[in-house]
């Protein structure tokens, strides 16, 4: 194991990484919902 592996992760960097991941996941979810509602509306109107 080298010196780099033993360095503890910076808590602030870790915090930023987790928050960024959560924001991305939420944005993706909201976008998916918008797309889903769009297609449901099209399907209901066509059907």
């Amino acid at each position: 194991m080298n010196q780099m592996d033993q360095t503890p992760p910076d808590p602030e960097a870790e915090r930023k990484r987790i928050i960024k991941g959560r924001n991305n996941a939420l944005a993706l979810l909201l976008f998916a919902l918008v797309v889903l509602f769009f297609f449901i509306t099209i399907s209901k109107r066509v059907g």
């Binding site: 870790e14 928050i19 399907s43 059907g47």
Partner: protein, 303 residues
Amino acid sequence: MSTASAQPIPLPTDWRDFLSLTKPRVMSLVIFTGLCGLLAAPVSVDPILGFTAILCIALGAGGSAALNQWWEADLDAKMKRTANRPLPAGRMERSSARDFGVILSVLSVLILGLACGWLAAGVLAFSIFYYAVIYTIWLKPRTPQNIVIGGGAGAFPPMIGWIAATGEITLMPVLLFAIIFFWTPPHFWALALFVETDYAAAGIPMMPVVAGHQSTRRQILVYAVLLLPIALAPFLLGLAGWFYGISALLLGAMFLLLSLKVATFRTAQNDADMRAERRLFAFSVLYLFALFAALVADRFIAG
């Protein structure tokens, strides 16, 4: 320096922990049986609405799983199998799990209602209530029959899939419900026999803990015997074709044989490694996948 400043501020919860709250592995079976219910229905389903129905069944299952983990966080901490879940491991606030579960549940019911009708949405809402309240909060800690009653929660997805496709409750979705309902006790009791120590540590009255191994093994056989005619019923009542009938018969015979081994065949070696119970548990998963796949295949064979 104050004491507070010496304590590290806890990290926010990672999105993967929210995902794990939904029990993705259990969800795969829910999605599969829900999809089978949808595809086996004798109507053609709009692909977008069909996809939405399955998504909502999955979201509802995820929401109720999150509520289950919110309620059982203390019990999960006592079992090796569940101790690393986000709540017992301290990676998430309990209220976050509760809110996440409620949001997913409400969202799934609303979207399903708007897309596929309020009957399917109503059954989905009831299934979430059944799992989160009737099973998790009320019966699981109180009765060794918890698995029998809890099996109802897992039996809803194919029924919801069928109702989402057809818009009505007929005999067939009730039979699909019954198949999973009678399949659940032998499936979970086989598992509970070889992880008994864990359940005992958490104080959950699982059948092997309360009634003992022999009684549990006999009850496994009883449910396996009941499951055979119920699984054959769609064929016998003319609701499914010969392909499904033959599949149900062969799979049911194998299930019965393995249950019989669990109930009767006992040696010191077998008791030690629980080989028969492990085999039955593994086959029970295959059984359900194969039976529902046969139902869908039969529908396409029949046209």
